[in-house]
Amino acid sequence: MILENITALDIPSFQHPTYWKTFFRALKALGPAEIPGRNLDLQRFLRENGVTYNIYGDPDGINRPWSLDMIPFLISAAEWTHISRGLEQRAILFNLLLKDIYGEQQLLRDGILPMEVVYNHPGFLRQCVGVDLPFQNHLVLYSADMARTSDGKIWVMNDRTQAPSGSGYALENRLAMARIVPELFQGMKVARLSPYFHSLRRALMGLCTEKSKDPRIVILTPGPSNETYFEHAYLASYLGYTLVQGNDLMVKDRQVWLKTIGGLEKVDVILRRIDDVYADPLELREDSQLGIPGLLQAVRSGNVSIANPMGSSVVENPGLMPFLPAIADRLLGGSLLLPNIASWWCGQKNELNYVLDNLDRLIIKRIARSSFQGSSVDGSALSNEALAALKARIKAQPTLYVGQEKALFAGTPALVGGEVVSRDALFRSFAVSNGDGYAIMTGGLTRTANSEGHYIISNQAGGVSKDTWVIGIDQGSLTSFKKDIEAIEEPVQYRAEILPSNTAENLFWVGRYAERLLSNARFQRTVMQFVEEANKAFNENEEALRQSLLQALTMYTFTYPGFVEPETADCWSNPWPELYDILFNVNRAGSLAANFNLFHRAVHTARDHWSTDTWRVLRDMEENWQQAINQPQRNPHRVAYTLDNLITSLVAFVGLNRDSISREQGWGILNMGQKMEQCLLLISMLRATLVRKQDEQVEYILQEAVLKANECLVNYRYKYRSHIKLPLVLDLMLHDQNNPRSLLYLIEKLKAGTKDLPKINQAGALPDHERVLQEAEKLLRQADKEKLAAVASSKNCYKNLETFLGNMNGLLLSLPNIISKAYFQHAQGANQLFPAHQPLRK
């Protein structure tokens, strides 16, 4: 239905037609021309804020942009009262259920809940039974997916207790809507989301077992390839907590510690976003690379609190659904306010038969969800063979399966391709413990199917999100609301930024790779220009020059054999295939493309350090580079243009970081990586180009190439006002304190930078890296440009220069290792010991 006819849209009474009327009036007021534009703005806003959702098993799935429908999902105040009460009741119920399962197990012993629903669920962690948690609500976070059926009822489709996700996306959706289409909010009295986050912060503070003044709370993420990594990083910065991966933490003295470049810092509370079975390779899944060995020992001794607690995923279990009414009756003495969709657990004979007989009309779920495989199957969408296979799987392990009724969703208006159509929707809302009960987010995250008649809605299957508006709740005036927030907000304490060792290491490598890309791109661009021009201008030494330049490029990029030991002779007459290969061949070590991938990975691992502007630069750079790689036809001009773009983007990236990353350790480490790489690459370039004694004219061109590739040609002309001569080139590139590309300048910067690093305890001795830098500076200052430029007896090389550069290289090459040992040492991984088991037969 096109927008003009919206008023005719037939919205049933339970869908709040008066609100929709107001909303569509506002939408229409934007005008037909404006709506598509705003829609683009909306998607761009999300994209530029880095809002992504990763899809597993999809090559383009990493960092897939999040899409948002301009039309929200509407819930009236009256309907919301019912929903929020129902959600709180459910959260309370799941909390009691969780406590019973890890405590007395009365529900199981009394047969109210079949044992297999719990014991056969992989999330039932026997290691956690009887562990005493020192807070009232064990279940800190709870969320539920709900749907409105065509009779206007609200049903719970899924319960989430492992590590409920989506609250950050909900917030980001709201920010995007408020920023891009503020007109739509007029007259709607949309309830705010922020009180939920204040409750969340308070709940996490409340989990600190030791009432320390300055508790450390961290968000534990599986890392950037996780589907909701964006949200982990987003919540970390929104709530002001440190974002960590398993490797950033360690257990010592049965306490959890954050490994920082300044040493170990105690962790009090972990907001867990990794699945609990992966959280401790000592006692749980041994193959986990995500966890912290010994974590359960720290939990048992009460030294750390985890939200949600370890083992909570056992109640994220559709097998529970059929038994919830009886459990509610037992634990709460009442019935469920929000019913769940009719479900049949296959561990019971009659239910199993019912499910097997009606397979093609039901949704089949496993009782345990796995992120890596779809956990729901729509029976009606399966072929006969697939149905038979499913039947066999269910029969083999009936206790692991549940059949669920297919609800008749009530469609909700959605903007698809410029038209308003009806789509099935699932909405998720969030509960967080507030002491005795639970606080519910007044809103949530709505997702709609990506096409009509597609029953299973999930982000993994593709789908569009909507902002969720709870309308007409009177929250009082803005000032009273603010006062309320201030009253509940904990005093935020200033805390010096601490840099986890892993993050520091990533930043260090971002610096190194950025510089490597930049220098390689510049040198290759220079070489390509010379090769091009030499073709045109007459030059009797053309062949020798070409060979020298190309060989220098191979040496510099370390892409042997390359031009150093060419496989074919025509590589001199046509060097382009090899030149393109060391630019674009991703699978070749040392190629620009391979370095780009390393850079890309490091950048995304340290992604919460980049500002919005930086992200824009990075995204453009990635898109352009990807296009260049995929380009079927190449010519020197187009490639030069690609390199120009890449260089400009990298310069912008480096410059933006200088402006936007805090002056504290984050920037220091990044900058140090960059400067260190610059030093090493400069030495490597000088070795590759200037050490060999050659024809004067060839040498001249090589020296010019060095100046050009280092963007120093203008400097040179300005300073020396003479032809290019080796001693002067060396003076400019080695000793000139005012040239930001000279070795002396770089070493002085590095020396200054190391002063800002945390001090490592070495009993008065100079730290190794400072000692190395001092030696390097001494060596450099002692070197005389005339002597370096003198030709020794061998005649075919500048021996002094070669020796000097070799020594310098040896010295500086040790720096990265020293830094890594001193500051990233804690970043080492965990390994399983062999099982100490040997067999025997009498």
Binding site: M115, Q127, L282, E283, L833
Partner: protein, 290 residues
Amino acid sequence: MYEIIHTTTYQYNQDVALCHNIARLLPRNTDTQTLQKSTLHIVPLPEVMNAYEDFYGNNCLYFAVQEEHSSLHVTVQTMVEKKADAFRSADQYQLYGWEQVLAEVQDVSGRYFDARQFTGATPMTEFNAEIADYARISFWPERSFFDATLDLIQRIYQDFEYRPGFTTIATPLHELMEMKKGVCQDFAHLAIAAIRSLGLPARYVSGYLETIAPPGKEKLTGTDASHAWISIFLPNIGWVDFDPTNNMRTGDQHITIGWGRDYADVPPLKGVILGAGPHQLAVSVDVRRL
């Protein structure tokens, strides 16, 4: 009375800054054995130690060495008093047909709640149609659970070859069914999977077995090892142990450390080290009758 000396040594190729370990090396008390005395010797001395009982009531010890070390040495010396099991006639064991056990264990009254938890498959005891068929040969209708199990372990003993080094702890049962070669924990896992494929309760037992020197020869030191066998549940009697590797009911020579659903619940010693890569392992076990 038995004295058991169980020594494990890990030699690392690089210094290790921190290691976490969990040992299940102290035999628990049962109807047929009592732990009299135990001494534990760990080098380097762990900074952290914590003894507790796990979910199944097995004795656990968590310990962590938190300073740089290049090897880890764990010796446990225990004295275990064995006593005879209550005498039961063959009729008593044979009283329950396996279908009846199945019905009683699965009964919702929850009378046999503790046994029922040992009826489900685990990753190490995953059964397929082939294993279920293999079980059915011994479990014919109305046969007693006891006799059917005796028959099953005898068939495993006959059909499978004992061959150390052929399988690892990660070898799945369907591969074992193909190879027909393995060691004690493979045979225990297979017997358990077969019994559980019928919905019956069986558990994995970790322990020691006393070896007896050939006549006229002196027993060599360190030639014993840890062992594994199975236990089935009979109503009114309780858990009854069988050793599929040696085709026998367990007896005086079997010393129980603990039990669980499969090996993963009761590994004698497991650990995680921070840093370092390869390492060597040496284990020696001595079981001596005093």
